[in-house]
């Protein structure tokens, strides 16, 4: 086969794969802009004949989905900021501060990677009940405020920060907190951005724990509200697709904007880890 023919075949394969990959998302968006009943009509409509925002209006005005949107945003933002702080502090200590038992403690933390979170969920629920945090935002937030994944990621990055930089700051009389906050943190900005993207997206998309801990509709996050709606509105295809768009679009846009950080984060983690 000539190089040119080979190139055409390879590109055709990739484009076909791309069309298949994007089709479900395209159909979701298209159906969300149809009027009720259009997505199930015969012959099928692939694009709406008269695009309308009626489904979105229904969701936000009558079904109060704005509230779930807000719950999702609050939980994801608080967890992202909180876990950036706890992970960067611990990751810095593991990488740059000498103390007894450092390797052993770090090794112990890494065990967590193979423990499925569901193993602790039942006692965690009982603990939250004792603390009166069931059906509160804090109940959804607190268990994710510190993650082994975040500590690991920051530690790997901090190992490359030159020790001389810290020693110089120490000789200048800077406190340990000041070295962390004013010397190390500014250097760590790229990895912090990567971790923030990861944390925000995983919290936004999380389903099982919010489903367990948030029991009334006023506190539901988007995925929980959506799963609940899909039970009541099985026939309303267009409405459910609008709800899916509202849920997916924020993370998809965030990914498109921050994809460089996000993808390089996965690559770095996989090669070193």
């Amino acid at each position: 086969m000539s190089r040119r023919a080979e190139s055409i075949v390879l590109h055709a394969l990739l484009i076909a794969g791309g069309v298949i990959t994007l089709f479900p998302l395209f159909w979701m968006l298209s159906a969300s802009l149809m009027s009720t009943g259009e997505a199930t009509s015969l012959p099928p409509h692939i694009v709406p004949h008269a695009p309308t925002l009626a489904q979105y209006r229904e969701l936000f005005v009558r079904l109060n989905l704005g509230r779930a949107f807000l719950s999702s945003a609050v939980i994801a933002v608080v967890v992202t900021l909180g876990s950036l702080l706890t992970s960067s502090m611990a990751g810095y200590a593991f990488a740059k501060l000498r103390f007894k038992g450092r390797q052993r403690l770090f090794g112990l933390l890494l065990v967590a990677v193979v423990i499925p979170p569901q193993v602790g969920m039942l006692p965690l629920f009982l603990l939250m009940k004792k603390l009166h945090l069931v059906n509160t935002y804090w109940g959804a937030i607190i268990p994710s405020l510190a993650t082994v994944f975040g500590i690991f990621m920051i530690r790997q990055f901090m190992l490359s920060v030159p020790q001389e930089l810290l020693e110089a700051a120490r000789i200048d009389g800077a406190s340990e907190w000041r070295i962390y906050w004013s010397v190390v943190m500014p250097l760590a900005r790229p990895i912090l951005a990567t971790l923030a993207t990861f944390m925000f997206m995983s919290m936004w998309n999380d389903f099982m724990w919010p489903l367990i801990i948030l029991s009334d509709t006023a506190h539901y996050t988007l995925p929980v509200a959506l799963a609940n709606l899909s039970g009541e509105h099985v026939q309303d295809v267009e409405l459910m697709m609008a709800g899916s768009v509202v849920t997916i679009l924020p993370v998809l846009l965030l990914f498109v904007v921050l994809q460089r950080q996000y993808i390089s984060g996965i690559m770095a983690g996989s090669v070193k880890g």
């Binding site: 994007l22 702080l85 501060l97």
Partner: protein, 290 residues
Amino acid sequence: MSPESRAALLFLAPAILLLAVFFFAPVIAGFALSLTDFDLYTIGDSHNLRFLALRNYRDLLGSSIFWTAFGNTLYFALVGGPLTVVVSLAAALLINAKLIRAKSLFRTVYFAPVVTTLVAVSIVFKYLYHPRFGVFNRALSAVGLESIDWLGNPKLAMFAIIMLAVWKGFGYTMIIFIAGLQNIPGELYEAARIDGAGWWKQFRHVTLPMLGPTFLFVGVVVAIGQLQIFAEPYVMTRGGPLNKTLTMVMLMYEQGFRFWRMGYAAAVAFVLFLIIGTATLVQMRLQEKR
């Protein structure tokens, strides 16, 4: 204590305390819970709690619903896992090919499903699979084939969920494979070409062996993720038809949080933990042998 150790203690305290109280302690308590008859009555009055030793596990291994969930979960992981690896390796090889332009565009497109919300795309696929107006069936009838009740047919339902999982997940492992491919020194291919090796021989004798460590990482990540499947069947089938999509985490959720049989549910969770631990060990052993 040196000032540095004291500082380290303070820097570690928030993360370690949070992890200890809200992750490690519940995991250990989960094992203790699995040895008791903790249920709705115990929530009301803790005096009702009884120690059962391993009876929950014995009951579990003797119940057909557990083996159904166990079998379904394993089927999902053993079919979905390799399928994800094959699709993502193929995508990575294509994108990494020298002739390809706009590599980062294709990479972004293939990765997009990974960042989407699982619950939302499960709902989208539920409609795509609809027996009458679903797009898949319309495509089938357009070429003159009979339509299929994807999620209603006990033999097909889990496979339909597997296709969703492959679509959703292959972009992630593809990125890891691309990183692995880029780490293979170009001289190896050069040498193989000089020896007259064609595309397949280069793939078989250079690419595959050099990707060894990547396969281990991908295998472990995919296995751990897939054995925890919950949201897809919860949203699409509720475990049906005929319990054919009931998974272990779903069984745990239903027993623990709907019927409040928490001791029994904790035992289910621990069996899952054992399976994930075993899967990880087996993959590491296999990799060592190579």
